[in-house]
Amino acid sequence: MTFLKLLRLADYKNPYFYRIMKKTLFDKVWDKHVIQQIDKGPDVLFIDRHMVHEVTSPVAFLGLKNRNIKVMYPERTFATADHNTPTINQHLPVQDSLSAKQLDALEKNASEHGISFWGLGHEKNGIVHVVGPEYGITVPGATIVCGDSHTSTHGAFGAIAFGIGTSEVEMVLSTQCILQPKPKKMRITINGALEKGVTPKDVALFIISKLTTSGATGHFVEYAGEVFKSMTMEGRMTVCNLSIEMGARGGMIAPDEKTFRYIKGREFTPKGDAWDKAMDYWEELYTDEGAKFDKEFFFDGSEIEPMITFGTNPGMGIGITKKIPTAAAMEGGVATYQKSLNYMGYNEGESMIGKEIDFVFVGSCTNGRIEDFRAFTEIVKGRKKADNVTAWLVPGSHKVEKAIKKEGLLDILEAAGFELREPGCSACLAMNDDKIPQGKYAVSTSNRNFEGRQGPGSRTLLASPIMAAAAAVTGKVTDPRTLIN
C-alpha cells in the first residue's frame, strides 16, 4: 500500500478508517462529532442535545441578548427547573424571591427562544438528569451537555455527556458547538459478582475511594466488565453520575440490548426509519479489542462492601465494616485530612457503625429514581422510622413520584412513618429550603459531602438508598445487610 493510500485511510470520514484503527467507545462518539480541529487548539465539537436549568443559564441567555442572537437549534435544547424549586406546596407561588426570579427568567428565556420548557408544575418536571433519560432525550452515541457537572449521568447510555460552565452554555445556545480539547481515556473494569446488599452506589463510592477525587481528572472514563453489564440502566446512571466525583469529565458504558430496550418508544427517541438509521450507528458503539487507553484500572466486584463516607469529599469513603483510616494511610496533606475529620466530628480509627444521625435524604440525580425508592421501601417495609430521624424522600421527577404511588410504595412508606415530597434537587445542594441544620448529620443518597453542601454547617454521610433506609429505621449508621430478609 502506498503512503498516499494510507494517508487517505486515516481520514475519519473514510469508512475503512474504522476497520483498521482500533478505537475506544469514547473515540467513536467523539470523532463522529468533530466539525473542525483547531491547529494546536481544541476540537470544535457538535452537541446533539443541550439541557438547560434555571441556575447556570440566565447569564448565558443574557449574553445572547447582548450579542443580539437567537438559540441556533431550539429543537436540540430542553429546559427544566430543578435546582432551587421547593419540594412542598409546588402549586403555590415560590416564596423565595430570588429563586422565583430565576425560575421566571428561565420560563421567559425558553419561550423567547422556542425551547421546550418543563417548569414547576409541568407533568414532565423533574431533575434534568432524571427526566432526560425518562423521555428519551438521552440516546446512545449522542453528545450531551448541561451546565451541571452531573451531566455525566447520561453516559450510562453510551453517550458523551459532560458538565459545562455558563460561558460554554452560551456557546452551545448560540452555535450548538463547544470548543474542547479531547480528554485522555481511562477504562475501569470490574468483573466478578456483587454481594447481596452491594448496590451501584457502593460500586461508585468504592471506585472513588480508590482513585481519590482527582484520580480521573483530565480523563473520560469507560466502565467495563460483568458488574456494569449486569447492572440495570438506572444502576448504570448512578455509576456514570458519580464519575465527576473522581475528577473525570464524564463516564460511559457501551450500549447493549438492555439500553436499546430501555429507550425504544420513548417520546423523543427516533422512530421508524430514523430508529433504523440510528441503530446502524449505535450497534458500532463498543471499544474495539486492542484499543488503547491512557490509564486502566481493574477491580474485583466481590471485594466491594456497602460503602459510607466519613469525610468531606466523596473519595473519603470506606466499606461499612472498616475503620476510619489514619491520616498517614491517606494520600494528601495531613492538615487537610484533620480539618475534614474535625468538621465531621470524627476521629481516626473509629467505626462508622453505630454513629448517631439526625436526617436521611433520599433523592437527587444520583439516587432519585424508581429503583432507588423500591430498594429503600423494601428495607423499611414492616419497620418504623426512628424518632430521632427526620427523613426527606424526594423523587427525581413527577414520573418517579407517580410510579411510587402506582406501585403501592407510598402506602408502605406511610405505614412506616415516612412522607413523600415533590420532585427537585432539594437537599442535595440545599438551594431551596431543604437545608440540613448546622452540625447535624445526614445520611444522604446524593453525590457530595463537601462542607456545608447540604446547608451551612451540615455533615453529610454519602450512602446507597438501602444504607439510608437502614439508618432511617435504626436512627444510626447500620450495616444494611443486617436488615435484608
Binding site: 483547531i38 487548539g41 447556570t56 435546582h83 460552565g165 452555535t175 438551594m431 456545608g452
Partner: protein
Amino acid sequence: MAYDKFDILNSAGVPLPIENVDTDQIIPARFLKATERVGFGDNLFRDWRYNNDDTPKKDFILNNPTYSGKILVGGKNFGSGSSREHAAWAIYDYGFRCVVSSFFADIFRNNCLNIGVLPVQVSPEFLQKVFFAIESDPKSTFTVNLAQQKIAIDSTTATEAFDINPYKKDNMINGFDDIDYLLNIKKDIKNFAQDTPI
C-alpha cells in the same frame, strides 16, 4: 462575553494552603440565585470567611489585611466539584486575576480560561516555594508572564514554566472569546448538523 486582556501580572499572592478546595467552598450554592453576573466576590469563600451572623471570621486569610494581591495560591486539586462558573466569577469579582496551584479540576480550569482568570499549574515543589515566599514575607511579589508562560518568585531567582493550550493563550492575550470564533464558522456547523444520525 469578551474580557480583559491578560499579559503580564505582577502582584503579591494570597495563600490558601488547603487541598481539594471545592466549588461549594468557593461559592456555596445558596448564592447562585442571581440572574446577572454581579456581586459574586462578596460571597467568595462565604462560609470560611464569615460566621453565621455575617461577622468576618478573624482567622480566615481573606480577612487578614496582611495578605492581598491579585494572585490566589491554593493547594492541590483546586476547584473540584460542581460546574458552576460562579466560582470563577467570584474569584474574578473579588479581584483575583490568577490562581496558582499544583493541580486544577477540569471544569474549573475551563471556566477560568473562559472568563479571563489565568490558572497557573506548577509543580508541587514550586508551589511550596510560593507558599514559603509568602510565609517569609507577605509582601512577596510574583510575576506571571503569559506570553512566555513563566511564573517567577521576584524575591528569589526561582521561576517555573507552565502549560496552557496555545489557542486559549492567544484568546487570553487578545481578550477574544470562543463564541466569536464559532460564529465565524456557522455555515460549517449548519452543514454538519444536517447529517447527524441523531
